[in-house]
């Protein structure tokens, strides 16, 4: 995984900074909503092949997956990897009654992905002054096969991990951009860099 091919060092730094700010905002909104402290990792930015993306997504055992596309000035897909561990505590924070049923769990996963992906995307779009709209999330299970069928060979991904303090729960959000959006992004970054 490297970023050299797609972003210059300056662009990369600028994006990193913007990500830090917007992810922080996302974490804050979520913390406010569920009234719990939330930790975030330093966002990672990389250029990956579909196989790399697959191993990135599926390296974690015991996880649920969702994906959600976004349209607008920049387009792409967000994948969320939600840990199975600690989901019950999160369910309680979201005011679900224990024990969680299968559909409760699905609903919680979808809602969490939507909240976090939405918050991240909103923050990033706001920072970059770009308009985007997130579509509804769906559950999926990554299989090597569907990744190998991807139409692109290289994509910029931004990854951030959220942890909820009171439980072992964690969640990763991975953004993938298509080529046109990447151009648009670098252009915007250049404008910001002056």
């Amino acid at each position: 995984m490297s970023t050299e091919s797609v972003l210059t060092a300056d662009q990369r730094d600028a994006l990193q900074e913007l990500m830090n700010i917007s992810m922080g905002q996302a974490a804050n909104s979520l913390a406010h909503l569920i009234e719990t402290k939330i930790g975030i990792s330093i966002p990672k930015i990389a250029s990956v092949t579909p196989e790399q993306l697959f191993s990135m997504i599926s390296e974690q055992a015991d996880a649920y997956y969702t994906r959600q596309s976004f349209l607008g000035d920049i387009q792409g897909e967000v994948m969320s990897v939600v840990s199975q561990q600690g989901l019950c505590e999160v369910g309680a924070l979201l005011e679900y009654d224990a024990p969680l049923s299968q559909t409760d769990i699905q609903e919680i996963i979808l809602e969490l992905s939507n909240i976090l992906a939405g918050a991240c995307l909103a923050g990033l779009s706001a920072q970059l002054a770009l308009g985007t709209n997130l579509n509804m999330p769906t559950l999926f299970s990554p299989r090597k096969a569907n990744f190998e069928e991807f139409q692109w060979s290289n994509s910029l991904v931004m990854e951030v991990q959220f942890d909820i303090e009171i439980s072992s729960f964690s969640m990763r959000v991975v953004f993938c951009l298509d080529d046109a959006s990447l151009d648009r992004l670098t252009q915007t970054l250049d404008e910001l860099l002056g």
Partner: protein, 432 residues
């Protein structure tokens, strides 16, 4: 114009303010509400009109206000949020409406006023198609597994048939061989009897000669004694007759076995006839005992030499299967007892063993075809079901009782049939 458009949209539109009070409902909502609610809903709390999913709605709307980001809900996880009806296109019947919901943040006329807009979609058609499809898929899957099972059973039935076919031809072969062996056994037996005579005479001859020499010629007597010693005459004389006797006995045993084999293998006389149950059972025990040596066998019959009118082939088959099971149930030591009793009305054949027994759970299933507890390849689970059919043919029944760990009793009960009643019982005989 936009007001009309929104009112007529085929999706539900509902707008609430930050206190969850209703600001707007379009026709989709209004048409489905009680008349008294329809006219003065403005500023009413959303959950006072739609209390069904109050907690969920409140939470989701709160999230939209806090995050300023849309929230989604799908029918798969939460089918009915608002208590509306819809018709299911498959069956046509009315059901609860299946709903997808999206809540989006919007701003009011004064742009700092935050509002949330609930967009409700009726996805009953989609949902019922999907559910029908899922039902179909699971029905198909069930059928598929049932078929797989059947195929497996067919496979094993086929191999059982092949086995039976083999057994039948083995039987034929055995009969042929038995016949072939019988001839040489006949003359070997006769010759051996003659040889026994001859050897006795030869010994007598030698003794007579030696006696005579003793008296007439001491020198020749000396020579003869020496020669007899050289050829171990005393030993020969002692050994020869038991040897011949043992051989005769051995031959008798061979003839017995061949006789039994012939009796069973040549059993082509299907159809109803008088049949000596006692004798057959004894033969059977010999045959089974030759293969299963662990148990001690015992046959009792009251009255002795009981004759019954039946279809011998199937009765023998049933008895064989039950006897083999009993023999197999004994791992190292024990007995198998066959107790035959007859009254004027019925015949009872009890096969009693001191083997491993059958658990209460299994005993219900032992007559089912293919039920077996024996390792793969050892039992087909057909023995008792074949026996059952055979006894059923005789309008009789089989009862099994078992004490796990102690032993099992399988009892065959058949009504006594007299030859003149033959046409009344079972199937008519082919050709007669």
């Amino acid at each position: 114009m936009f007001d009309q458009l929104v009112a007529k949209l085929p999706v539900g539109i509902c707008v609430v303010d930050e206190q969850y009070r209703l600001q707007y409902l379009n026709a989709f909502f209004l048409d489905r509400m009680r008349p008294d609610q329809r006219h003065n809903y403005l500023q009413q709390p959303l959950i006072s009109i739609f209390p069904e999913q109050a907690k969920f709605l409140t939470r989701r709307i709160k999230s939209v206000f806090v995050l300023q980001h849309p929230s989604f809900s799908y029918w798969e996880q939460r089918a009915h949020i608002f208590p509306f009806k819809s018709s299911r296109p498959i069956t046509g019947e009315e059901t609860q409406m299946y709903q997808n919901m999206e809540i989006v943040p919007i701003s009011g006329p004064s742009s700092e006023q935050k509002l949330a807009c609930i967009i409700l979609q009726d996805v009953t058609a989609q949902a019922s198609y999907l559910m029908a499809q899922q039902e179909l898929a699971s029905a198909l899957k069930q059928e598929h597994t049932a078929q797989r099972k059947l195929i497996k059973k067919l496979d094993s039935a086929q191999s059982q048939l092949i086995q039976a076919e083999k057994m039948a031809s083995t039987g034929q072969l055995a009969a042929g061989i038995a016949h072939e062996i019988n001839n040489p056994i006949g003359f070997v037996t006769a010759n051996l009897a003659t040889l026994k005579d001859y050897s006795e005479q030869l010994l007598n001859l030698c003794d007579a000669l030696a006696d005579k020499l003793q008296v007439t010629s001491p020198s020749l007597a000396q020579f003869s004694a020496q020669t007899m010693d050289t050829y171990h005459y005393e030993l020969l004389k002692e050994d020869i007759s038991p040897l011949v006797d043992e051989s005769c006995e051995g031959l008798n045993r061979v003839r017995d076995i061949v006789e039994n084999l012939k009796q069973f293998a040549l059993e082509e006389s299907t159809g109803w006839q008088l049949f000596n149950l006692h004798e057959t059972t004894q033969q059977l025990v010999k045959l089974v005992g030759a293969q299963y040596k662990a148990p001690v066998y015992k046959v009792s019959c009251n009255p002795p030499n009981l004759q019954i009118f039946c279809e011998p082939a199937s009765i023998k088959q049933a008895l064989t299967n039950i006897l083999i099971n009993a023999a197999q149930s004994i791992k190292c030591k024990g007995f198998v007892k066959i107790d035959i009793r007859a009254t004027a009305q019925r015949v009872s054949i009890k096969v009693i063993d001191s083997g491993v027994g059958i658990s209460a759970e299994n005993i219900k299933k032992i007559f089912d075809p293919f039920f077996t507890t024996k390792p793969e390849g050892m039992g087909q689970g057909l023995g008792l079901s074949v026996a059952y059919t055979a006894i059923e043919k005789h309008k009789g029944k089989i009862i099994a009782n078992s004490n796990p760990g102690r032993g099992t009793v399988v009892e065959i009960l058949v009504p006594v049939v007299h030859p003149e009643q033959r046409h009344e019982c079972a199937e008519p005989l082919g050709g007669s």
